[in-house]
């Protein structure tokens, strides 16, 4: 299994092909619906002006996202009272909900990787080619194991979005994922869908 360190270089990204199993190591962020919408509206489309700590958080996450990775995840976190946070369960959530934002977010930050489950659609695949970047599929349901690969919670932003929706800054080691969309235009999700459709048609013939 290939070991990748974040930030990931363009050369590394281009060497990845769909079907590759890799482990991720380094610093990454969680971000799901609320975070994607907030970034998109405030800093990409600029539909709303930054308020409160918006600008500050943006500057902080920008550095991590440059060449970095975002994880679609709504974790179960212990230590909320003490601030001594620990990830208890942290499997991936369904990624398609971020499809309207993902491509622009990747371009905006030079984001190299998106982790989630279920795969994403055409716009994200195109962004993977252009940026370049890849989609990493985590194993749905493998919540305890993934939480184990989170070695440290380095911080949290936007906790007012709620625990699952906040931006968690994580130090991960040996985080297991599979490349299912690569920078060469391939998507396992499209391939499997088309192949299984053909087989279905023959089984129903």
């Amino acid at each position: 299994m290939q070991k990748l360190t974040i930030p990931i270089s363009d050369d590394h990204i281009r060497s990845l092909k769909v079907g590759d199993s890799v482990t991720l190591n380094g610093t990454m962020l969680t971000g799901r619906d609320a975070v994607h919408k907030w970034i998109f509206d405030t800093f990409i489309e600029k539909k709303r002006a930054p308020e409160g700590d918006d600008q500050e958080v943006y500057e902080a996450i920008k550095q991590i996202l440059e060449g970095g990775v975002i994880y679609h995840c709504g974790p179960v976190v212990a230590g909320l009272d003490s601030g001594d946070y620990k990830f208890v369960a942290a499997g991936p959530t369904t990624s398609t909900r971020e499809e309207p934002y993902q491509a622009r977010v990747m371009q905006h930050f030079n984001l190299k990787g998106v982790i989630g489950k279920g795969g994403m659609a055409g716009n994200t695949l195109a962004a993977c080619r252009d940026v370049p970047g890849v989609y990493f599929h985590a194993i749905g349901g493998a919540a305890t194991l993934i939480a184990q690969s989170v070695k440290e919670v380095l911080g949290v932003h936007k906790l007012d979005f709620g625990v699952p929706e906040a931006i968690w800054v994580l130090q991960v080691e040996e985080f297991p994922v599979v490349v299912t969309m690569d920078s060469h235009g391939s998507s396992i999700h499209d391939e499997v869908d088309q192949k299984s459709k053909k087989i279905l048609d023959s089984l129903l013939a």
Binding site: S21, G74, G119, G140, T180, E191
Partner: protein, 290 residues
């Protein structure tokens, strides 16, 4: 009447953290069917590692601990009011202990109750009075991702050329597996009900998921259909997580229930690989878990 709250709590803990042996066995056997160093084999290996770790650490197998669905078979003379109160208390306690994630959301306000109790349907509890003096309680934790890919078909269905017979059932079930792709955290288990009204049909489709993976349907025709569905669903090649591969489903269980002449429903409850179901049996003072 006994106070079984602690016993119910243990049932919840066991279900959330320890995958049943038959499911784990099926997953282990599937690993061997996938190509060495393929993504699908890797996915199954990761799943199995996670299963072991969750059991060892007594933490949830998956962070979505699902809808708790209880099936209570109770002897004459027991109070379902008391049983219900004890079950609800156990669920609240299990949530505090992080065996369960708070999952009960008010559909109007969007507010999460925080303790996994909601209206009279949450958690779901089915009661059935039985002869004899044994209490048995099955608990299933039904995840959201897989529930979202469940489906109900009304036959005849002209698009799939599915008529009102078992061949029609085969056609729509395979379509449902294709539509689901890997999104219900494949490999899945298919709970299928034929007949009923829309509501009873889905209830029956979940009941079939209480069966053991390696049992055999006593009805020969349905047994044959289960074998066909299992085989052909796997031929689709969707594979673990939808990565492609040999293991798309771990099993198919079918139940037929009576229907109105006018209706012919086929309901499919898709269960993810995190097939969390456990049973507790109370005989006298003895409590046995399986």
């Amino acid at each position: 009447m006994l106070n079984l709250t602690d016993k119910f709590l243990e049932l919840v803990r066991l279900a959330a953290t320890s995958l049943p042996p038959d499911v784990e066995k099926a997953l282990r056997e599937s690993v061997e069917k996938e190509e060495p160093s393929s993504a699908s084999r890797g996915a199954l290996e990761t799943i199995l590692k996670n299963v072991e770790l969750a059991r060892e650490k007594s933490t949830p197998i998956c962070q979505d601990t699902g809808t708790p669905i209880f099936y209570v078979h109770y002897p004459q003379g027991w109070s379902t009011i008391e049983l219900k109160a004890q079950i609800r208390e156990a669920v609240v306690e299990a949530t505090k202990l992080t065996y369960l994630r708070p999952n009960a959301v008010n559909s109007v306000t969007g507010k999460n109750t925080g303790d996994n109790t909601g209206d009279e349907h949450y958690p779901t509890i089915h009661f059935e009075e039985m002869e004899g003096n044994t209490l048995s309680v099955d608990l299933m934790l039904k995840g959201g991702g897989c529930e979202n890919v469940g489906a109900q078909y009304k036959l005849p269905n002209s698009k799939l050329d599915a008529g009102r017979d078992l061949e029609g059932v085969r056609r729509v079930v395979l379509d449902a597996v294709y539509q689901a792709q890997g999104k219900g955290c494949a490999p899945g288990i298919l709970g299928v009900a034929i007949g009923g009204d829309r509501g009873s049909s889905f209830i029956a489709s979940k009941e079939t998921l209480l069966r053991q993976l390696d049992d055999k349907n006593p009805d020969a025709e349905l047994a044959a259909l289960e074998d066909t569905l299992f085989e052909q669903a796997n031929q689709l090649g969707i594979g673990p997580m939808g990565f492609g591969g040999e293991t798309t489903v771990l099993g198919a269980k079918v139940k037929a229930v009576h229907r109105l002449p006018a209706s012919y429903f086929v309901s499919i409850s898709y269960m993810c690989w995190a097939y969390r179901r456990r049973k507790m049996t109370v005989i006298g003072d003895n409590v046995i878990y399986a």
